[in-house]
């Protein structure tokens, strides 16, 4: 057991899989000599050499396109988008090829690649470095979109993502990269993709969130439990697509009250989908309207203003209170 931050935990998963399987290669911009702009790939080049830790030319579509080719031959490329804001150039390779190679060949071909990308705001970075656009990826059938929230689940989910037979988008909440440490087991650990985690059980209300929002959510819940004397169930979604609908529905049937917290704008988002699934399967169990705490449907403002828009601990707590009191 070691106390690791998320950067170290992700690095551990990469080290473990690279050691385990010589088909695992890491490629991206500045991932080798520079060890990644966040140092996630630290030590890999030294240990595994240039053939497996590839500093690519600066071309996102090229990184994914060539990774698709590698994956088709049985290799396991783990590519890095330096920031999710630069990843939109990969869309046609993902939607047009990676996601559909399996179905278009009825299983003759598959593309087991992982695309890691830091996402989200809160680090006072320049434009294009703050968005939370998981919806883009979640909408594509054939790929999985995973968002860890802590060092331990980041490590376990990345190991599973690398072992997964399909393309996985692995969005890393960069605000949480070095924000805290957590005990991470020394022995390799896996978490099933497509499965949410019940972080704590409760009876009065369900709070659903993922990624960087889990930290303010946990703090808001701690305060709410004391101040409102409420028993709160917390679900960490972890895989935003495919969604673990059952975990959500079971919880809603028990508590009847729901708050969903997401960093992304509200319109056509993961929270919209969760509300729709509750509507499909648990509408009559609701005792209050499902409350959403989200970003606003605006272009992400520059960093001096961005925190005014991202759900805060206070906003989350007020939403919990409002839903409990309805």
């Amino acid at each position: 057991m070691s106390k690791l931050n998320m950067v170290q935990a992700i690095n551990l998963a990469l080290q473990e899989k690279m050691k385990d399987d010589d088909g695992v290669v890491v490629l991206g911009e500045d991932v080798g000599v520079d060890e990644g702009v966040f140092r996630v790939t630290a030590g890999l080049l030294e240990k595994y050499g240039e053939e497996r830790v590839i500093d690519t030319p600066l071309a996102e579509s090229g990184i994914i396109g060539t990774s698709i080719g590698m994956a088709l031959t049985g290799m396991k490329p783990v590519c890095e988008m330096q920031f999710s804001g630069f990843s939109y150039l990969i869309m046609h390779q993902l939607e047009g090829h990676a996601s559909r190679m399996r179905q278009r060949s009825l299983g003759a071909w598959s593309v087991p690649l992982v695309v890691r990308m830091p996402y989200g705001g809160g680090i006072r970075a320049l434009e294009h470095h703050s968005e939370s656009r998981e919806t883009f990826y979640a909408h594509i059938p054939g790929i999985k979109t995973v968002i860890p929230s802590s060092p331990r689940n980041a490590r376990a989910l990345l190991v599973s993502a690398i072992e997964d037979p399909d393309p996985v988008i692995f969005m890393e909440p960069k605000r949480s990269y070095r924000a805290f440490r957590e005990d991470v087991p020394d022995k390799i650990e896996r978490m099933e993709l497509g499965k949410a985690q019940i972080v704590q059980e409760g009876n009065d209300i369900t709070v659903i969130s993922w990624g960087a929002m889990m930290r303010p959510v946990i703090k808001a819940i701690e305060e709410s439990q004391k101040e409102f004397n409420a028993s709160i169930e917390l679900i960490d979604i972890l895989t935003v697509s495919p969604l673990d609908e059952k975990a959500i529905i079971d919880s809603v049937m028990k508590t009847g009250r729901v708050v969903i917290v997401q960093e992304a704008p509200k319109n056509v988002s993961i929270s919209s989908e969760i509300v729709a699934r509750i509507n499909d399967k648990a509408l009559l169990y609701l005792e209050a309207p499902v409350k959403r705490v989200t970003n606003y449907d605006v272009v992400t403002p520059y960093f001096s203003r961005e925190l005014d828009f991202i759900p805060s601990q206070g906003r989350i707590k007020r939403a919990i209170k409002e839903t409990l009191d309805f």
Binding site: V25, A59, G62, A71, L72, T73, Q103, P141, G142, P242
Partner: protein, 396 residues
């Protein structure tokens, strides 16, 4: 400030050498460069001209049986395309992009590939796909809207048709990386795309990655002069497509793509270079799209009959036949026999395809992901129930 001078030589149709020099100066006027730092050239290869006359100095030594076999494949590709056009008009297949006139440009390189080589195509290489092991039944499935058409042929590495223009060139480079990393002997990747693809970012990224990584990849541009309605001169200002290799230090050659012997020599050299660690090659096969872009397109809207007719005498099949006859290894009788055989094979494929029962649509749910998430099982159940209700409606 860097300066460059690009010279390209071009062989005219009359076999006379003509030299044009195009100069590009990054500094103009008084800042004219004082020293030329680099000089580049692009070569053009033609061996068998449009009259079937062979350039003896350049003629490759190809065994007769291979010459006949290559010719038979080109005829097969032509006959199959023509049958597909008929089937499409009769509503027996869907939209289809014929490659009539371009047979030499894609069949010859495919013929030179072995079972360890990878073919990463676009959508106008039906003949190459057949040569690499795809069956005509598969092509018929594909153009009838069934994924079964993309099943991997036994013992052959051929990727599904790639409709998004240019994207597949990057897959080829990634496969090339893997072959190099795994030290696979005697294996290379051949990727096809059109002149339109050379405007796409992915083409340039593929060329750049291929150059940097020195992977065993042969990039073949079937420059058929038209990308749907856009003529070659509006696609790029470059005098040749082959010269685009210069920027990436990928050897490039412009080839008469309707000359089977030139395609043979250029492809063979490129494959040998790839397999001996010499890295990638760009081949610009100059050819012409004799038909529509796809059956959904009407080319009379944007090009003249005169232009098309001007290319008809340059047909690769006519040229190859003349060459074989001049070599005394072919005759009209043999031609008739071979055409009859090929047509019979096509008849049988169409018959087999049409005798197939309809396919299970629910299997799509089995192949969206490699491991099943329970939510998809629920959707599949719902889908089957709805299909059953539809069937009842039809009966009622």
């Amino acid at each position: 400030m860097a300066s460059a001078l690009i010279a390209y030589e071009k062989k005219s149709n009359k076999n006379k050498l003509k030299f044009d020099t195009v100069k590009f100066y990054f500094n103009k006027g008084q800042n004219m460069p004082k020293k030329i730092t680099n000089r580049f050239s692009v070569s053009y290869l033609q061996i068998l001209d449009e009259n079937g006359k062979v350039d003896k100095k350049l003629e490759p030594k190809i065994p007769d049986k291979d010459l006949i076999s290559m010719y038979r494949w080109m005829v097969m590709a032509r006959e199959f395309d023509e049958r597909m056009l008929k089937l499409q008009r009769q509503g027996r297949i869907g939209t289809f992009g014929p490659s009539i006139g371009q047979e030499a440009a894609h069949c010859i390189p495919a013929y030179l590939m072995n079972e360890k080589d990878w073919m990463v195509g676009a959508f106008r290489e039906a003949g190459a796909r057949l040569i690499r092991g795809e069956t005509m039944e598969q092509a018929l499935h594909f153009y009838n809207g069934y994924e079964e058409g993309n099943a991997k042929p036994e013992g052959s590495n051929i990727l599904p048709v790639s409709i998004i223009v240019g994207a597949q060139a990057l897959h080829a480079v990634g496969i090339g990386y893997s072959l190099k990393y795994r030290k696979v002997k005697d294996a290379a990747v051949v990727t096809f795309f059109g002149d339109g693809a050379t405007s796409e970012g992915d083409f340039h990224e593929a060329m750049n990655f291929a150059g940097v990584w020195q992977v065993p990849v042969v990039l073949i541009c079937q420059n058929n002069q038209w990308a749907i309605s856009l003529p070659r001169h509006k696609q790029t200002r470059s005098a040749t497509i082959a010269q685009k290799g210069i920027a990436y230090d990928v050897p490039g050659i412009q080839v008469d793509g309707n000359d089977p012997l030139a395609m043979y020599v250029a492809s063979k050299e490129a494959l040998e270079r790839a397999k001996s660690g010499g890295g990638p090659t760009l081949i610009e096969a100059v050819t012409f799209r004799m038909m529509m872009h796809t059956t959904a397109d009407d080319p009379t809207k944007y090009r003249t009959d005169e232009e098309v007719e001007g290319w008809r005498p340059k047909d690769p099949l006519i040229r190859m036949k003349t060459y074989l006859i001049n070599k005394n290894i072919w005759s009209d009788t043999k031609e008739e026999e071979m055409r009859a055989e090929v047509k019979k094979e096509i008849d049988e494929a169409v018959k087999n395809f049409e005798a197939n029962p309809s396919f299970d649509s629910a299997l799509v749910f089995d192949h969206t992901y490699g491991n099943k998430h329970y939510t998809f099982e629920e959707e599949r159940t719902e889908f089957l129930a709805e299909r059953a209700k539809e069937a009842e409606n039809v009966k009622a």
